[in-house]
């Protein structure tokens, strides 16, 4: 009874927040409420079917509708999806296998450049015949190819490196990412593979294979509106596949072997776990996720250059995993979502709000201290500029008060 009531309350909440967001498309707060509904879904103790139904409803129907009303929301949702996928990939390496990887973004970059080079005229620079850009239909081939290439790169890096442990491994992965970035920056001569720091553009978008279907229904959707929706569903699909793969692996002998290695490598080996093989597998799986997301990222951005794949990106994804809770799938998702929202929405929203106050010249009167005109607020004080500081502060506070992350891989709830 109580559980059905909770389910009902959830429905009401989702309906209300969506209506708010629909009628106030400019309101950051309204959209945050919609996003929070997914978190509520996770926490509230309601019948399972209702929860799944509502989750699908929000992700597949309500989000796109809201995104239709305000394209910026869709952009945020896509960004969140990209980082969720990356965090899930890194979570395998750091959270399950327990290997600190500070260069995860390298695999992401490799995936992105894979499609960027062949999905744009760039490849003509070193392959004669004017075959490029490849037709958009190749996008899905490259999505699959990137998984293989990502896994192989993971293996190639892992083979010599996985004998190292802890700090040493972290340094080597960091170096690897810098090497990859240096290659992207400098492989423009003598043969122009990557076009160096100028980056590659224009990169083909994925094919609109469903176009005939839309015409059949008589729906005319301008491409500018169609593509964000398309990317949203692509990334949603990719994230679902990644979650499925991760969950299957987690509950198999592979996942248990990974965690055993994380806990005690020697004991794991003594229990029959082939340590090096399992570590390599973990590295390869994580890398293949990142590479697949990279392909999607390149197609979405149309233009990429090495600046998108800096060390800070690796650190950012790592922080998402740590904030959410290492070794926990819901944790990685929440960490990635939270940090992305914080960066893209909360701080920007706060800046806008403060600017508004500044311009309106409102007067803040504090008892005993006198009044203070907000128009005197220094222009330097703008939350969006303090992104890194706020982020760092959150990390410090988390490590002090909740080092295991927001949603740790808890077994307590299982009981």
């Amino acid at each position: 009874m109580r559980r059905s009531l909770a389910g009902l309350a959830l429905c009401v909440y989702i309906a209300a927040s969506c209506l708010l967001a629909y009628f106030f498309p400019q309101s950051v707060l309204a959209f945050l409420l919609v996003e929070a509904s997914l978190l509520l879904l996770y926490y509230v103790d309601a019948p399972r079917q209702i929860k799944i139904f509502l989750g699908v409803l929000v992700l597949v129907i309500l989000f796109p509708i809201l995104g239709w009303a305000n394209g910026y929301y869709l952009e945020i949702a896509i960004q969140i999806g990209i980082f969720v996928a990356l965090a899930l990939g890194l979570n395998i390496v750091v959270g399950f296998v327990g290997l600190l990887n500070l260069g995860f973004v390298a695999f992401y970059a490799i995936g992105a450049y894979l499609w960027a080079i062949f999905g744009s005229p760039q490849a003509n620079a070193f392959i004669p015949g004017n075959l490029f850009p490849l037709s958009p239909n190749w996008f899905f081939v490259f999505l699959v190819l990137s998984i293989i290439v990502g896994a192989l790169t993971g293996l190639v890096l892992g083979l010599p490196v996985l004998r190292l442990r802890g700090d040493y491994l972290a340094i080597v992965t960091l170096g690897f990412a810098e090497v990859v970035r240096a290659l992207m920056n400098n492989l423009d001569k003598p043969v122009n593979f990557t076009n160096g720091p100028r980056g590659i553009a224009p990169i083909s978008k994925p094919p609109l294979f469903f176009q005939p279907l839309l015409e059949f229904f008589g729906w005319q959707i301008p491409e500018a509106k169609l593509y964000p929706l398309y990317f949203y569903f692509l990334i949603l699909f990719l994230v679902c596949v990644i979650i499925w793969v991760t969950r299957q692996l987690e509950n198999s002998r592979v996942g248990r072997a990974w965690k055993a290695i994380r806990e005690d490598e020697i004991a794991a080996a003594a229990m029959g776990v082939p340590v090096v093989r399992m570590k390599l597998l973990g590295f390869a799986v994580g890398a293949s996720f990142a590479a697949a997301v990279g392909v999607l990222f390149a197609a979405k951005q149309v233009f990429i250059n090495p600046e998108s794949f800096t060390f800070m990106e690796s650190i950012g994804v790592l922080a998402m995993v740590i904030l959410g809770g290492m070794g926990s799938i819901p944790g990685a998702i929440l960490g990635a979502t939270g940090v992305t929202i914080l960066n893209l929405q909360l701080l920007k929203g706060l800046s806008l709000w403060l600017n508004g106050l500044r311009q309106s010249g409102a007067v803040l009167s504090i008892p005993l201290l006198g009044s203070y005109s907000l128009s005197q607020l220094p222009a330097q004080f703008e939350p969006a500029k303090y992104e890194r500081m706020v982020f760092g502060l959150i990390l410090i506070l988390m490590m002090i008060f909740r080092p295991q992350g927001v949603l740790p891989a808890g077994r307590e709830r299982k009981k």
Binding site: Q248, R256, A257, E263, A269, R411
Partner: protein
Amino acid sequence: MALLDLRAISKRFGGLQALINVSLELEEGTIASLIGPNGAGKTTLFNTLTGLYRPDQGEIHFQKRSLLGLKPDKITAAGISRTFQNIRLFSHMTVLENVLVGMHSRLKTSLPAILCNSKAFSSQEQEARRRAIELIELTGLCGRENEWAQQLSYGEQRRLEIARALAAAPQLLLLDEPTAGMNAREAQSLMALFRELIGKHVKAILLIEHNMRVVMGISDRVHVLDYGEKIAEGNPEDVRKDPRVIEAYLGQGSWMGNAQS
């Protein structure tokens, strides 16, 4: 032919000769003990046997097959598993998961089967869980399977290590001080468990033990190490009377009375 046959094993760490020409045979259906003072090389022998160290000299044959140069996981797959002197459980995993990790070498599902959630995979997982629960019950940890390994008491953790080692379906079980830190009653029940294991779950047990009551009470054969050398071997009665063993390890006088009481 003995189940396990160690011939003239030597192992040196820099200036320390940890094992010198140690030979040891273990027959099927028996429990043997390895005793000796601290630093005599008992655990080194275990580590050499399980592939953590590679011996400088000597041969290891297990079921007529040489184990020399095999990685630890291959040795486990070949049928030898062990527990550790200083408990090495996977502390942030549940009791059940700990035992399931032990089954790694016995589970054979391929990656595609896992990803597709195939029938073969799920039935094998269920079977593994059923067997794990059996082992948990056998070692007296009934109903604790969803607790974290680190939540168990010291004695329970030792039992869990045994369950985990048994999960690999070994022929030979190596136990490194299984009753350390246990009181007399706990040690007694563990001895009963070892006797139950022989023939049913494993073919032979080799244990390192300092508790003479356990050693004398359970062993078919006792091997004594001192400064890396084997100084005596025989049934418990003979070893107890051996003057070299008394001098090196057991000591004269008082405790002999204790052990017999």
